[in-house]
């Protein structure tokens, strides 16, 4: 009895400390970062809870209400077959965000893998890996992504092909960063101490290199997500990404392009605003994070 209440109060105290640390951290942020974080959290929450927040059916066709402008009943208006645009944008944000996060994760994982291999193995393998990285980096990533989409969409489907196209074109800058970090990490005394203590290469990577790289890799991930959202929307907008019935932000924008001549500006405006908000908030947060982590990083991860 007393033992269980003891652990309960201990865990409550621990949770209180965690909460305290979190509020302290937020308190140190500048106002712009706090606003950005708030908007981003609201955006992600609205996207994840799309079916709860926007109770209207996102596929419900209402031919009496075709192409109506924003009103109290439909805050963002309706589209060319009378579907509620707010509902569609929220669902679209969820699809785009999910695919973008997965694609960014793939790019970051590939970049980290190549960077760690090049940085730890060194020598000829390092040289070959970095030359291959150079070749990939010198490709126009949008054009190369289009080639990948055409080749792999039939097999992987729209979402899988977009993830591949973004993943395979966005890793080189991260591979260079990770390799550069490793180069300086290798000269640090604690690495020499670990090697002296008998650590092999695998242990070095797991216990010493990866934990040190984590903040940089996390930042790269955050910076890559808006990029990936842009790529997914652009490919879907062009008809090369997700199939038209999946309401990603890019597909809604493609609807918007068709409705423009009929005067339906709101269908083109609102999905783009959601993308703008996502990119600006992550950009602001990542910029603040970067300045803390690595004041000299700008050139490599320019948004």
């Amino acid at each position: 009895m007393s033992a269980s209440s003891g652990t309960l109060s201990a865990s409550l105290r621990a949770r209180g400390r965690l909460w305290q640390r979190l509020t302290d951290a937020v308190g140190r942020w500048p106002a712009s970062v706090r606003v950005a974080a708030g908007v981003l959290v609201a955006l992600v929450a609205a996207a994840l809870l799309a079916s709860i927040v926007a109770p209207l059916d996102n596929t419900a066709v209402d031919l009496d209400r075709v192409l109506e402008g924003p009103s109290a009943a439909h805050l963002m208006g309706t589209d060319e077959v009378g579907r509620d645009l707010l509902t569609r944008v929220l669902h679209g944000a969820r699809i785009s965000l999910t695919i973008a996060a997965a694609a960014a994760l793939a790019a970051v994982a590939a970049g980290t893998l190549v960077g760690v291999l090049a940085g730890t193995l060194g020598g000829r393998i390092d040289a070959v890996l970095m030359r291959v990285t150079d070749v990939f980096a010198s490709q126009n990533h949008f054009l190369f992504g289009v080639l990948l989409l055409v080749l792999f969409r039939p097999a992987l489907g729209g979402a899988g092909a977009v993830m591949l196209a973004v993943g395979l074109t966005h890793w080189p800058s991260l591979a260079r960063i990770v390799r550069g970090e490793l180069m300086s990490l290798r000269e640090r005394p604690f690495v020499a101490a670990a090697v002296g203590g008998g650590a092999n290469r695998r242990r070095l990577v797991r216990r010493h290199y990866l934990p040190h790289l984590l903040p940089a890799v996390g930042l790269a991930f955050v910076l890559t997500v808006p990029h990936a959202i842009f790529h997914e929307s652009a490919y879907s907008f062009l008809g090369l990404g997700l199939p038209a019935h999946q309401a990603s932000l890019g597909n809604i924008l493609a609807d918007g392009q068709r409705s423009l001549l009929a005067g339906g500006w709101w269908i083109a405006l609102f999905p783009g605003l959601a993308m703008l908000a996502a990119a600006m908030t992550t950009g602001t947060i990542a910029e603040y994070w970067r300045e803390h982590l690595h004041p000299r990083w700008r050139s490599e991860l320019e948004l």
Binding site: F142, F144, G263, M275, A279, M280, G283
Partner: protein, 321 residues
């Protein structure tokens, strides 16, 4: 200098070979079947006929033979035949579209350079004022906003609502098509394409200028009593632009990649629209050819940047013979 150019040009075939190998490997890995794409999904083409087509195209030959033949054809400038161009050679179709893209990209590049320098210098000159804040805020907006979204909104406002500019194409269909380019058709796509690169360049000019303005030679110029305008334009700006030269190559590539979206929105008949058409029709030879051309441009652009860097900055010239 000559040595550098020769050495870098000698690397060009190697880079191209690597890119070609990677693309060839990708087409091999992918389950994409060109014969199936050619005959279409719902067809009554017999398996024998499909095998004949595969044989005529050489798909039944071993991989190394196909790769070797493809590379040797590439080396002779034969990039295959295009589906979207009605079976015509890829190279000819690309050449016929290049001038429209060149006009678009060239115009956009000029706009980026002029606009970026003007607003970057003004923002640096009036740093800390409302004007500086406005320029920077607009730039951040511009970086975050997707280019094709801005393009759609601009299309709606300027072409559909206001009717100031035509909505698409390269010339008025009612006039005789002389293959020329109408300036009023060029304005919107050019400005929107320029906006994709304008923001970073303006911020870049502003920030490097502010750094250079803290250097000793600028202080010395001011001490001599030279006016602030002359200090900015003659003493600080040239030095601030030197590192920019190295970035030209990569950002030119970004500009070219941006044409796919911009040309599709405005129906501009250049290489971007051609790549989109090729992608939608699964025209692999065309997309591969355009990818290879883009790589050549990037390598040449980087070479040009290196040469220019040595021309404008004596320190680099002396450091690396």
């Amino acid at each position: 200098m000559l040595k550098l150019i020769v050495r870098r040009l000698a690397v060009l075939p190697l880079v191209l070979l690597t890119v070609a190998t990677i693309t060839f490997a990708l087409t091999e890995i992918s389950p994409f079947d060109p014969v199936a794409a050619y005959v279409g999904a719902e067809n009554n083409v017999s398996p024998q006929r499909q095998a004949q087509i595969a044989h005529a195209w050489g798909f039944d030959q071993p991989i190394y033979e196909r790769f070797g033949r493809w590379i040797s054809n590439l080396a002779q400038g034969d990039m295959g035949n295009s589906v979207v161009a009605g079976g015509q050679p890829v190279a000819g179709e690309i050449a016929s579209r290049a001038s429209a893209s060149l006009a678009l990209v060239g115009g956009a590049l000029a706009l980026v350079l002029v606009g970026g320098i003007v607003f970057g210098v003004l923002a640096a000159a009036f740093r800390g004022t409302v004007f500086d804040w406005l320029v920077r805020t607009l730039c951040y907006f511009n970086t975050a906003a997707p280019s094709f979204w801005i393009g759609l909104l601009a299309l709606y406002v300027f072409s559909i609502e206001l009717g100031w500019l035509p909505a698409g194409g390269s010339s008025d269909p009612r006039t005789v098509d002389d293959g020329g380019v109408d300036l009023d058709h060029l304005v919107l796509p050019m400005v929107i394409l320029a906006l994709t690169q304008y923001a970073w360049f303006t911020l870049y000019v502003r920030n490097t200028l502010l750094e250079v303005l803290r250097e000793d030679h600028v202080r010395f110029a001011r001490a001599q009593g030279i006016g602030e305008v002359a200090v900015l334009l003659r003493y600080a700006l040239p030095n601030a632009l030197i590192p920019f030269v190295t970035l030209v190559g990569t950002h030119l590539a970004e500009l070219i990649g941006g044409t796919i979206l911009i040309e599709s929105i405005f129906g501009w008949p250049g290489l971007g629209l051609l790549s989109l058409k090729a992608a939608l029709n699964e025209d692999i030879p065309m997309i591969v050819a355009i990818t290879l051309c883009a790589s050549v441009l990037v390598v040449l652009g980087n070479l040009l940047a290196d040469v220019l860097y040595r021309v404008v900055d004596p320190r680099v010239r002396e450091a690396s013979p």
